[in-house]
Amino acid sequence: MQILNKNKLKAALNKLAETADVFVPAARGENSGFYSWKTFDQEKDELMLEALNVYLPPKNVLFPQTERMYSFQEEGSGVVIKESFEDSSPTVIFGARACDVAAIDCFDDVFLTRGYEDTFYKSRRDNTTIIANACYQPGPNCFCASMGVNPTDPATADIIIRDTGEDYVWEARTEKGTALTQKIADLLENKEVKIPELQAFSKNVEYDGVAAKLKGMFEHPIWDKLSEACQTCGICTYVCPSCYCFDIQVKSFGEEGYRFRCYDSCMYREYSQMAGGHNPREDAKERFRNRFLHKLEFFQERYGKPLCVGCGRCIVACPAGISITEIIKEIKEA
């Protein structure tokens, strides 16, 4: 098998960064997430290839927090669209975990299927190569296996690396992965190493049957109880690798400007507020219920899988201590 010795990791990242923008899991100040190797500060930043999980998922790579869509220019009563900003620069996500790769699968379902392709997403996606880092020692808040994700074998990754202690086993899975592997071929060695065994999860939840059960629970009093502590701050949606809701806004200065999209959150009142005054999800409870039903029932109905990949980030981030695994348990028991 092909392996990359950990001593050559930085050399490999440097090499990959010659032809692509490479995003790596890293700690930066108080925060952690996926940052560009170009801006990586060797003194202050810290690679976090072992972390489960970094605070922010890699979703910003394929779906930036704010993204320009097109620019325009006014001319009297006329207006012209100047440029549309599909980004096709080569990009690599290095060290994404299986949960985050599964979340990208969900994004692919949303942005690339059901009648329309979102060209902004597609352009980034087509030009991004995913190098996944298989998990063998689940973290304290990980429950991906409960949500149907295989932590050691993220199916749609282009390359899978497996941490054996001193080395990474390096396995290209797709054409994109093979092409990228060639760029660092001289850093790889052939060696037989032992692949670790998957350790037990400390967090488990029984998702089977939840979507079907929820179908009859829209008016259930449980939502009052579950949502009571929620402050509708939206952090859970921000840190979630599979939350994709966006807003479209405009920035104008003088005669020109651009339209852009940015993350939105179903937890906010404005999200579904109509211009005429009506809001179908006026109360926190209604918004909270919609979020969890979307994750556990609606997405399952529409795309055949839940919109939660068990990364545990929202459990860590929620200031109110709300946990999706506890919610699933309560639904099961209700």
Partner: protein, 277 residues
């Protein structure tokens, strides 16, 4: 149905506003045209995103497509973006993108008597179906239109309502306003109660309704009482929309996106959804 006629479905086509007509004191009709004629073809009940490019976008039902001549949008002034839209003048260039959504089941309704029930600006989406029926008159049976607004001024499309439509073959038009006012000798009262008075027989009929949520609620109750089955009742829903293509998330009711799977549903389909409409 969900085919896009541009490469990037979120990019508007620039069109010119070739005419603006006051419908009421807060509703204006905008007639738009691209260099080729219409920017895209629309079926009755489909939506389009109207974009006052430097200001904002809003999703509206297309109230009519006249061949390859123009698209018409009847738009009520209800907020920031529509306020600005109401200030523009003929000759202004704006953006449109679409068409979005399923539209009315015009083919499934062939051979049926049609009952249209609308309140306020709710006539704008129904009008595309009404005019479609007139254009394909032989495909549809008797046509009944019941329309109400707060006052006489608030009635949209008055020339059609009082002049053109009543003269169409086998067509009845019933108009009501909420409160009596000077000069009005027509019916006074709310749409649902007028509907109960008229008591149109459900046999062979399809009822299509649109209006304020409270009106729809009572109209649906009245229709049920009169014996209309859930499959005979069609409505078109409104939700806040941004993308129009089932991606941005916000217009969902249950697992359905109103911009993509709707906005038109029959009552049987609606009863499958959570009661957020």
């Amino acid at each position: 149905m969900h085919q896009c006629n541009c490469e990037n479905p979120l990019l508007p086509t620039i069109v010119e506003v070739v005419d603006i007509k006051d419908e009421t004191s807060d509703v204006k009709s905008f007639y738009v045209k691209s260099e080729e004629g219409v920017p895209f073809n629309v079926m009755p009940g489909q939506l389009a995103m109207v974009s006052l490019i430097p200001v904002g976008e809003g999703m509206f039902s297309v109230s009519w497509q006249e061949e390859q001549e123009y698209l018409q949008f009847a738009i009520k002034r209800v907020g920031l973006m529509t306020d600005e839209l109401h200030k523009i003048e003929v000759g202004q260039k704006i953006g449109v993108r679409g068409p979005y959504g399923n539209g009315f089941p015009v083919e499934d309704c062939q051979g049926k008597d049609m009952l249209f029930i609308a309140g306020g600006i709710g006539l704008a989406p129904l009008r595309s179906f009404i005019k479609y029926c007139f254009k394909h008159r032989e495909d549809y049976g008797k046509i009944q239109i019941l329309y109400g607004s707060r006052s006489y001024d608030d009635l949209c499309f008055k020339d059609e309502l009082f002049e053109k439509w009543p003269q169409e073959k086998d067509t009845e038009v019933y108009v009501t306003i909420d409160n009596a006012e000077e000069g009005w000798d027509g019916h006074v009262g709310f749409v649902p109660s007028y509907l109960e008075e008229l008591n149109p027989n459900p046999a062979g009929k399809i009822a299509v309704t649109c209006g304020p949520p409270i009106m729809i609620k009572f109209v649906l109750q009245a229709l049920e009482k009169m014996g209309y089955s859930d499959e005979q009742v069609i409505t078109t829903l409104e939700m806040r929309m941004k993308c129009g293509i089932g991606k941005c998330g916000r217009c969902n009711i249950g697992s359905q996106y109103i911009c993509l799977d709707g906005p038109v549903f029959n009552l049987a389909q609606l009863r499958e959804l959570p009661p957020e409409w």
